[in-house]
Symmetry: D2
Subunit: 281 residues, 4 copies
C-alpha cells in the first residue's frame, strides 16, 4: 500500500487533530509522521499528516478524508506517495543549478522525475541527452515571446508535468503563462530576498559591502521575486572576494537551496498560504 | 486555564495519535502544537502534544490521560505549563555560562526560575546577590567530597529544585549524587562531542588543527561526557586563532548551546530515551 | 614595548608592502601579523600591519611611518596597542546588548574599557552601578532633542571617549551630533541589512516569511541604517516561531554581532572606506 | 606575465616580510595579496605572497627568491600560476564527489585540470567519457593489491599528475604507495574528524545522537583519517533524520568540503606543517 500525505490549513477549532487521526485509525491506517501548529497571532491551524493505510484500504475512499476536513473549514492538499512528481525544467545558459538537479535526480534525492527540459539556448542539449532527458530548444525574443510561451506550455502539458522548476532561467514568465500552466513553478533567485531583488544581485551585494551573501528559492508569481519563499541560505564573504568570487560561492548556495525547495515540495512538505509558506521538516 | 504538555514514546502501534487527540477533544481541549514521528529503524514512536483544556476542565483528571497512553505501552512525561521549572545551579570560577543564564532568566527566556546557586568558589557571590539569588559556597576537596555532595543535595532538596544545571562546574558529580538528587542535570562541555571529550578540549582541538570548534550540552550521567546530547553548535576557526582565541570564541558557543538546552528542557521539548534525545522544536 | 597597528588604504602601486615592512625592519621591529590585499576591480590596496618595535624604539618616531606611507598616497590609521579604547555607551530600555557588552568587557574581550553610559531611561542604572559604570540619565523628547544631544556630547567629551556604541539606543542621532562627537559610532540593527531597514524589522521579516533572520552592526552615519557594515549574522526560523520568538532568537544575533563589531574596531581590524569596510580577521 | 605564489614557514625572526617584499619590489613586481602570521605559542612564522612580476622579469630568476628565504630558515613552496594542477582522481562506486568535481572543473572553479581517473569499479566510465576524461578500471582485491597499486602509480605518473584526489575511494592507500606517488593526496572523510573516524561514520553519528553531522577533507597519510585537515563543515540533523537522510545530507557536505580543499590546494593556499595546515583564505 502506498503512503498518503495531507497538507491542511484553515481557521483553528477544536477537534482538527482528533478528527483527522480518528479517520485514519478507524480505517486501520498508521500515522508515520505528523506535525500540527497553531499560529497564535492569526489563529491559523496548519497540519501535515503522513500515514500508511491498512493493506486492504480502498484508495478511492481517501476522497472522503479530504471532504471530512474541508467540512471543518480546512483547505486540504492530498497526495499519494506513489504518484511522484513529474518535473519540467526551464534553463538558460548558466548550467550549475540544472546539472546539479539532474545529478540529484539520478541519486534519487527527489520524490519524482525530471521528464522534460525547455531552454532558450541550445547549450545544455548534450548534457541532457547523456542523461536521457528530452531537451527542447525554444528561442525567446521580445517579438516571439507569446509564441514561445505557447510552445513551452504545449511541451509541459504534453509531458504532463505537475511541477516546473526554473533552474536559473533568465526570462520572466508572464502571469498568463503561470495561470495557464496549471501547476506550481519554483524559481531560484541569487540573493537573500528581500535584499537585492532584481538584476545582478551579486554586484549589488558587493557594492553594499554585506558580509554574507544568500540565495532564495520561492514559488514564482507574476510579481518578480515576490513569491512565497520556500528555502534560503547564506554564506560568509570578505573583502578578499571579488564579484566573481561571490558568483562562484553563490553557485553552491543556489544549488543547495534550489534542490532543498524542490525536494521539500515533492515530498509534500510545503504548504503555501497567502504570500508565505510553512515548510514541514 | 493552564496549558498541558505531554512527551510520549514507546513501540509504534496504530491509534496513538487518534487516542491522545480524541482524549483531549472529548474534554473540550484545543491542541496548540503537536509533533509525532515514527523511527522507521527502531519502530519507536515519539509524540509531543501541547494543549489548552476547556475552561472548566478538572486538572486532576489529566492523570487519566497519562494512564490511557501508558496502557498503550507509552512512557508519558506530563507537565502543566503553570508549574515552571525550579533550577539549581552549580558553578565554579568561570563565570560566562552562569552570568549569561542569569540575564536570560531575567529576560524571561526560560519557563522557570533560578532558585539557588551552589559553588565550590566564592567568586560569583556578589553577582548573585545583585540579582537576588541565594548563593551557597560549598568548597570541595578530594577529602571532603562526600560531605560536600551531601551539603549540595541538602541545598537543592531544600530549594525544591526540579532541574540542576552545571554552568561550567569543574567537578565530577558521582553516580550516587545523581541518583539521590532525583531530577535531571544538564551539563555544558566545551567541545563538539564525541570529539575532544575529557580535559582541555580547546587545547586538544588546537593541537589537532580542526577548522571548527564546538560545544555540547547534555544530560549528566555517571559516564563523564557520555550522556544524551541535547544541543550542539560549532564556529569556524583558523590559524589566526591561538588557544586563547578558541577559549573566547568557545564562550559564545557554550552560552548559546547551554541556554538552548535549558530552555528546551523547561518547555518540555526534550524527550530522552536510551542514550539519545529527541528535541521537538 | 607596546605593539603598533597600522591600517592603510589607497591606490595600488609597487612597493607598498616593501616600504612599510622595510621601515619596521630597519628599526628593529618584528611584524606579528600582516594582511595585504589588492582589489582587482577598483585598484585599491588595503594593508594591516601589527608589529612589535625594538626594546629601545623611540615611540615618537612612529609618526614618520605614517608620513612615509602617506607620501605614497596611503591613508594611514595608526594606533598603539597600549592606548586602549575608551567606550561611551548609549542605551535605551532594552537591556540585552548593553548587559552583554558589560560582561564581555569584564571578561576582557575588548581592547578597551567602557567608561560612561548615557541613557534616555533610568532602567539600567542599578546594573551599571553594580559594575562601577557611571550612568547618566538624559531624557530625550522631540522638544528637548537639541539640549539632550548637547548634554550627551558634554558627557562623552568629558569622559574622553574615542568610540561610542549604540546598544539598542532607540533614538536617531543627528548628523550634527555625529560631526561634533569626533569619534566613530557603532550601531546594531536587528535585521540583515539592507533587508528590513527601518522600524520593527522582526515584524517585517515575519510578514515576508523569510527563513532566516539576521542582525547587522555598522558605523552610524546620518543616513539611518545605511552606514558601512562591520558584522552580520543570521539564524534559521520556521513557522513555529512567532514574532516574539524572532525577537528572542534575534537577541542572540544582536549580542554576538554587536560584540564582534566592537571588538574588531578596538583591535584595529576595521578599515572603513566609502560606504564599505574591510574587516581583517 | 604569470603570477607567482609563495608559501613559507619557519622559525620567526625579524625581516621575513621585509626581505621577501623587497626582493619582489626591487625586480619591479607588484604584490597582489599577502598574508603573514606569527604563532605566538610555537614561534612559527607563516607567510603567503602572491605577486605579479614586471613584464620583462626573467622567470628563471625566481629560484633566487626561494634561496633567499631558505637562507633565513624558511621552507618555501613556490609555484607559477600558469603551471596549473594536473589532477588524478581515485573513485569507487559512490558518484557524488566525483561527478561534482567534474562539473566544477568544467565551470573552471579550479586552478588546474582533471587529467585521469582510476577506479576499482567500472561504474563511472560512461560519465567520464561524456566529459572527455580517460577512465582506468583497476580492480582491487586483497590478493592483487600490490599489482593494483603499481598499475595506479603507472597511470598517475604517465599522466604526470601533481595532485591525486580520493573522491570517496573506498580503499586504503599504503604508505608505500603514498611515498612512491610523489605528490599530495587529498581525501574526503564523511564525518567531522576526529569524531567518528573509521567505517560507517553516519551510522556512528546516528547511534550517538549528535545534533550536527560533518565532513572533513584532509591530506592522506599512512595513518587513516589522521592526516592534516584542510576543510570541514557541518549541518544540522534531528530525530526526523534516519541514517539514510544523514547519508543524503552528508553528500552535500562532502561535495562542498572536498571541492573547497581541492580548490584551496590548487591556488596555493594550503600550507601543511606537522599534522596541521594553515589555509590562507
Amino acid at each position: 500500500m502506498t503512503r498518503f500525505i495531507a497538507l491542511m490549513h484553515g481557521p483553528d477549532q477544536p477537534g482538527l487533530v482528533a478528527r483527522a487521526s480518528a479517520w485514519i485509525y478507524e480505517r486501520g491506517g498508521t500515522i508515520l509522521h505528523a506535525d500540527q501548529h497553531r499560529d497564535g497571532e492569526s489563529g491559523l491551524f496548519v497540519q501535515r499528516l503522513e500515514w500508511l493505510p491498512d493493506a486492504d484500504f480502498d484508495a478511492m475512499e481517501v476522497a472522503n478524508f479530504k471532504l471530512t476536513l474541508e467540512t471543518m473549514g480546512m483547505r486540504v492538499d492530498l497526495r499519494r506517495a506513489d504518484e511522484p512528481g513529474r518535473i519540467g525544467v526551464l534553463v538558460s545558459k548558466i548550467p550549475h543549478c540544472y546539472q546539479d538537479l539532474v545529478l540529484r535526480w539520478k541519486q534519487q534525492e527527489f520524490a519524482g522525475d525530471l521528464v522534460t527540459v525547455v531552454s532558450n539556448h541550445p547549450d545544455q542539449a548534450a548534457f541532457s541527452q547523456a542523461f536521457g532527458l528530452p531537451y527542447h530548444h525554444v528561442p525567446v525574443t521580445k517579438e516571439t515571446l507569446l509564441e514561445a510561451e505557447a510552445e513551452q506550455l504545449r511541451i509541459f502539458h504534453e509531458a504532463n508535468v505537475n511541477l516546473v522548476v526554473m533552474a536559473r532561467y533568465m526570462q520572466i514568465l508572464s502571469g498568463d503563462f503561470l495561470r495557464r500552466l496549471g501547476c506550481p513553478v519554483i524559481n531560484i533567485h541569487h540573493s537573500f530576498l528581500p535584499a537585492f531583488a532584481g538584476g545582478r544581485p551579486y554586484h549589488q551585494a558587493h557594492a553594499r559591502g554585506v558580509k554574507l551573501i544568500g540565495a532564495t528559492s520561492h514559488y514564482a508569481t507574476s510579481d518578480l521575486d515576490e513569491g512565497p519563499i520556500i528555502a534560503q541560505d547564506v554564506t560568509r564573504v570578505s573583502h578578499r572576494h571579488a564579484v566573481e568570487d561571490l558568483v562562484r560561492k553563490g553557485r553552491d548556495l543556489e544549488k543547495g537551496v534550489f534542490a532543498q525547495a524542490v525536494r521539500a515540495h515533492l515530498e509534500g512538505r510545503v504548504l503555501a498560504y497567502g504570500n508565505k509558506t510553512v515548510v514541514f521538516d
